[in-house]
């Protein structure tokens, strides 16, 4: 009979349950998505640039697990708040406490299991969809990635079953402990906990100390290595929760305590709204902040690896474009390019050597990248010293015919003029004056080198040139090399190496930010119904609709602001972790951050609108 009653009223409150199911489902789906990567060792090791990637993912699982535990406990307590009044009523009608407790237990568990099933299906679908989208965008084959990964499936099932069992027990105990009256009047009860001063102080202290330690570990990740990752994870995560549990309520209380602010217009109400469910809010906001940190961090790291390939490929190359024996077609195409510098050099090739005209080289001495030995700036650009006085220079050490070619000129010819082993095999390099040059019996060829503003704009043409160079190399050496060693070739091979890492970053970034959105949405929609009466009352005593709207904008702005801010700071400091892997981890960091801000802002606006639709009286 009780089962019948419960399922009957579950139907009545299906909207509330839908919100709950949605929240749980997304959490499960995201956890599963994360695990498809985290447990696929072969894929990780084959595709990541980070050597200890498997370890990093273990730590990630730990953080995500912790965040999930907080979230699931909060979300399932919502079942209790939906239900307790009704359970109290059954008890007044004669239902035994044991029976009611049992019902609460079963209901929490059943909802958990339903969401687990849906969540896993959604998770597999999302992994497949997002992975496919990213792979096609990145030109990344992603071999070995499996959206349906058995061991991840099991981990998710076991983890959530334990969680749901625990939360079911907690909910049951909570019901068992309450008297009939407490259950009946549960909805009128304010859970406005009085926060003790010393608790706030200790909590705040913990938050500051833990986060400081974590930041220190992240900044010194190069030396601390694995230990550093562990320290960062174990300090920043609880530190963030402490911040939201102790410091934020304290800050809000303080603002509320200032009479001139609190008693202005609707402020008393707005801050009370914030302050009222402060203990619930704090866990949710901690979770949101951590998810923002993880999501934005993963995305920023991914994009940073992406930009890093460009920086890395420019590390040894001064010129972006090198073309041997340019064709008419290529020359006309390049007419439209905006060159910062463009030089043309003549050379002749025999079976033994590659001969460059000193005249051309001295007319336009090329630039090269030289290693500085300084870690902040690995190489610097210098123009080759124009000091060629002899008539013959060569890099062939076994001949007496001519001077040894200066180091700078060797680098210039090999790297910038692409007269390297890939192109010309083991031919020696020569720089000859006009007289000696004329003596070489071979056709004159030219090589064009140039600098452009943004060389990735021209990758299509560069790919064609690269292919022609490979054919040219085949003619010179008798075999087609794997690469020509040009900047473009370096760039593409580095990019394909980094693609796996970029893929992981973006995949996780999208997943975490999705979960963040669902957590915030859940928090909001699950508490909105309770607010309807308050806004109705305010309207009755004569608050303008516009003021009510403004109050909602303000309340939610603060709800969005703090986790956004904390998450952002975590990311900014956290990127230091990669400084031993990436040359410039902060390059173009404004791209992911402004992307995030725009999406977060839109999401804020959308949430405000949805909330207003629920709580504001019509007309």
């Amino acid at each position: 009979m009780l089962v019948k009653l419960l399922s009957g009223s579950m139907k009545k409150m299906w909207k509330d349950y839908l919100v709950l199911l949605f929240g749980l489902t997304i959490s499960i789906a995201i956890f599963y998505m994360f695990e498809t990567l985290a447990q696929n060792k072969a894929f990780l090791e084959a595709n990541a640039l980070i050597s200890s990637i498997v370890f990093v993912f273990h730590v990630g699982t730990f953080i995500l697990g912790l965040v999930t535990i907080f979230y699931i406990f909060y979300a399932t307590s919502f079942v209790l708040s939906l239900r307790q009044k009704e359970l109290g009523m059954y008890m007044t009608l004669g239902a035994k406490k044991g029976k009611v407790t049992q019902m609460m237990f079963l209901e929490t568990l059943v909802i958990g299991i339903i969401s687990l099933i849906i969540g896993l299906i959604v998770g597999v679908g999302l992994s497949e969809g997002i992975a496919r989208l990213l792979m096609s965008r990145l030109d990344f084959s992603g071999e070995g990635f499996q959206p349906l990964y058995a061991s991840s499936l099991w981990t998710t099932v076991i983890f959530y079953m334990i969680l749901f069992l625990l939360t079911a027990i907690v909910n049951a105990i909570r019901v068992a402990r309450k008297s009939v009256l407490e259950l009946l009047h549960a909805d009128q009860k304010a859970d406005n906990k009085v926060i003790k001063g010393w608790k706030t102080f200790v909590g705040t202290l913990f938050a500051i100390v833990l986060i400081t330690f974590g930041y220190f570990a992240m900044i010194n990740m190069g030396e601390l290595a694995h230990v550093g990752v562990l320290i960062a994870a174990a300090t920043v995560t609880p530190g963030t929760y402490f911040f939201f549990m102790a410091m934020l309520p304290f800050i809000i209380k303080r603002i509320k305590g200032i009479r001139s602010i609190n008693e202005k217009g609707l402020n008393a109400f707005t801050y009370a709204q914030l302050d009222f469910r402060v203990s619930q809010l704090s866990k949710v906001l901690g979770t949101v902040a951590m998810l923002i940190a993880l999501g934005l961090g993963a995305m920023t790291a991914g994009l940073s690896f992406y930009h890093n390939t460009e920086i890395q490929s420019s590390l040894t190359h001064s010129y972006d474009i090198k073309v041997h024996q340019p064709t008419e077609e290529e020359l006309t195409e390049m007419e439209n390019w905006e060159f910062e510098e463009r030089n043309l050099y003549s050379y002749r090739v025999t079976d033994d050597g590659v001969y460059f005209s000193k005249h051309d080289l001295q007319a336009n001495p090329p630039m090269i990248k030289e290693f500085t030995g300084n870690l902040d700036e690995l190489t610097e650009e210098v123009r080759v010293e124009n000091n060629l006085s002899a008539s013959i220079y060569t890099n062939d050490e076994e001949t007496d015919n001519g001077e040894t070619m200066p180091e700078q000129w060797q680098t210039a010819l090999r790297t910038e003029l692409l007269a390297n082993f890939y192109m010309f095999g083991d031919r020696s390099l020569y720089i000859l004056d006009q007289e000696k040059w004329e003596e070489i019996n071979a056709e004159t060829q030219t090589v064009l080198i140039g600098k452009v503003d943004n060389f990735t704009d021209y990758t299509d043409t560069l790919e064609e040139i690269e292919n022609r160079h490979l054919q040219l190399a085949l003619e010179f050496t008798g075999e087609e090399p794997l690469t020509t060693g040009s900047k473009y070739a370096n760039y593409t091979s580095l990019k394909s190496l980094a693609n796996g890492t970029i893929f992981m970053g973006l995949f996780l970034g999208v997943a975490f930010l999705m979960m963040m959105a669902s957590v915030l949405m859940f928090k909001l929609l699950s508490s909105a119904t309770a607010d309807i009466g308050r806004y109705q009352m305010l309207r009755k005593i004569g608050v303008r609709q516009a003021k009510l709207k403004k109050s909602i904008y303000k309340e939610l702005f603060l709800v969005f602001l703090f986790p956004g801010l904390i998450g952002l700071v975590h990311v900014l400091i956290g990127m230091e972790m990669f400084s031993f892997l990436l040359i410039e981890p902060y390059t173009k960091i404004w791209i992911p951050i402004s992307l995030f801000l725009v999406i977060y802002g839109l999401y804020y606006w959308l949430t405000v609108k949805m909330y207003q639709r629920i709580v504001l009286p019509k007309g």
């Binding site: 406005n192 001139s260 008693e263 202005k264 217009g265 005593i541 004569g542 303008r544 609709q545």
Partner: protein, 254 residues
Amino acid sequence: MTKSVVNVENVQKIFGKKSENQYKALDNVSFTIKEGEFVGIMGPSGAGKTTLLNVVSTLDKATSGKIEIAGQDITDMKQNQLADFRSDQLGFIFQDFNLLENLTVYENIALPLSLQGVSSKKIKPLVTQVAEKLGIKSILAKYPVTISGGQKQRAAAARALVHEPAIVLADEPTGALDSKNAHSLMKTMEHLNQYHDVSIMLVTHDPLSASYCERILFIQDGTLYKEITKSGDQQQFHQQILNVLAELTSIQSS
């Protein structure tokens, strides 16, 4: 001659669209409440009491007719004007208190003043003053959940009075109170009316509560049925009310 604070002329309220089944909740109702008067509205359930209160309190619009409060015609005001008007001129007391449970009693009472932009310096003495009048000064720092029903209703009354509205509209204020608390609240309202010149319009179905009023309008099926004025003591007035109600019941059952 005293000014009228509420002036209702030929007010009609029809529910339902023209094409559908229409229902006249109020039909040609007219009455006035003078400044400083304590007027009760009575009638059986479904007679139109709540509709009348909603229309007078600007929460609902009359289909036709004219309503003036404190000399202002509210029938053609816009939404925002109405909101401002409510916060300025009206005080509400509801059956279910309608206190905001996330604000302290003090903040609840202060809210109408804050909304009018009164500076926080001036708010405090005003709130303390009205709380003293209603005998709830000691619970100002508490949250509504921690106080009794009677105290809640006093807090609600304080909130209704703090900005000195033209009229206080009370909708079954004793409905959720036990007889002792109800009696004490009505005494307080009577006192406020007599010694502080607060105009009150009270909607109730409880004859005892109604007997504190000076004048009672009975409505039946959306029209004004009868009007009686207190002439003797409260006991007699109570009996008078009971008689009219008996009349109404006999009409209904015949």
